[in-house]
Symmetry: C2
Subunit: 203 residues, 2 copies
DNA sequence: ATCCATTGAATGAATCGTCGTTCAGTAATT
DNA sequence: AATTACTGAACGACGATTCATTCAATGGAT
């Protein structure tokens, strides 16, 4: 009982800080967010943050790791449910990308806006989890190329980048302008129509 | 004689500061760049920067405006030279997007990495020049929809976003990993093949 | 032509507010 | 009582901005 409560308390506090950081970063960006604001948002003292994270950079990186892992797990779980060919899987991947963003607006804002900065400027951090996320898409595309549904003249690594970029930019626009989730499925449908038709093999 | 020399000296200094800022921002990012570093890079004193720009934010915004305007002018001039239909124009647009990036690596790095941040966190700045840049692509797509080369079921604003996102993400990857310009044309070709085939009208 | 007065662009050291981080003290738990 | 978790005020470094000072260029006066 002790250990469980202890672990839960620990986990609770760490998670509260991560969540507070997420809200704060989404609202004001990493560099404009004070550690004290994160503490406020999380309902802990400033110093407590340093019991769980080495420094502000480490908090940012941990937040990436943690949330990306969660995203990857969810996407992979959902993709296993898909019955149908590669096209259906890719379509579902795109749908999920949008859907997760709509369900977690702060997370979407955080990732779309901060990913590039941090990738480049947080020293010696090369963001392996983001690579994993792209890897899912890359594998789907290769699968499609092997079974003949997708054209084979395009490099899967390059294309997965391009597809991610398209999804991400559209999402950025949606999250920045306070749009309703209602019509997001329309956006998702159009973007996936464009990209999947571009990927299709022709006779 | 006086006025010409005066104006040139003025212009020179302002431009030197902008260029210094560009190099510095590309190298370390906006928030990690000290004003004194920009001054060093530009070969002027710290205080001189404040004779030409209100503050650091203003310098960032001015840099965007100035360089985006230059890009837009160049793209529009080049597009006028294109003989051929809408597809050729769109292909050329994408080619130019990559080509300009290869010719101006610091500028490419600056725009791909800083555009999102600044769009969101520099107060009350909505980046009209970036809208203009996207507008060129949007108009091309509408043109293609009207003359029947492009499918009409996709919203041109959305699609132009998606296409920009795809180009931008691929470019980001290229600029971050120190690649040779030699094979960039290959990347450009593949991305435009993907996107243009996605845009094409089918019988 | 020479000298002096005036200008204002440019400088860069000093200022001052702003955080990230620490740590001595307090509370909670066992 | 001892150990551990937490707190938040204080510290110190940092860096954007300011402003008193310099000095090269200009032009009017002799």
């Amino acid at each position: 009982m002790e250990t469980k409560e202890e672990k839960k308390a620990q986990g609770d506090k760490r998670e509260k800080i991560l969540q507070g950081a997420l809200e704060a970063f989404a609202k004001k960006g990493f560099y404009n967010t004070k550690v004290s604001e994160i503490a406020d948002e999380a309902g802990v003292a400033d110093g407590t943050i340093y019991l769980y994270f080495k420094n502000k950079d480490d908090l940012l990186i941990s937040l990436f790791e943690d949330r990306m892992e969660w995203i990857i797990d969810r996407i992979e779980a959902e993709l296993e449910q898909v019955e149908g060919g590669t096209i259906e899987k890719v379509r579902r991947y795109m749908e999920l990308h949008f859907q997760l963003a709509v369900e977690n607006p702060a997370l979407a804002e955080f990732i779309t806006v901060e990913l590039r900065q941090s990738a480049k400027f947080i020293k010696e951090y090369d963001n392996p989890k983001f690579g994993d996320y792209l890897g899912i898409l890359k594998r789907l595309i290769e699968e499609g190329q092997q079974d003949g549904t997708f054209r084979e003249d395009l490099d899967s690594r390059l294309v997965s980048r391009a597809v991610f970029g398209a999804l991400d930019e559209v999402l950025l626009q949606l999250t920045l302008s306070a749009e309703k989730p209602s019509d997001v499925s329309l956006e998702a449908t159009q973007v996936s129509a464009l990209l999947i038709d571009g990927l299709r093999a022709r006779e």
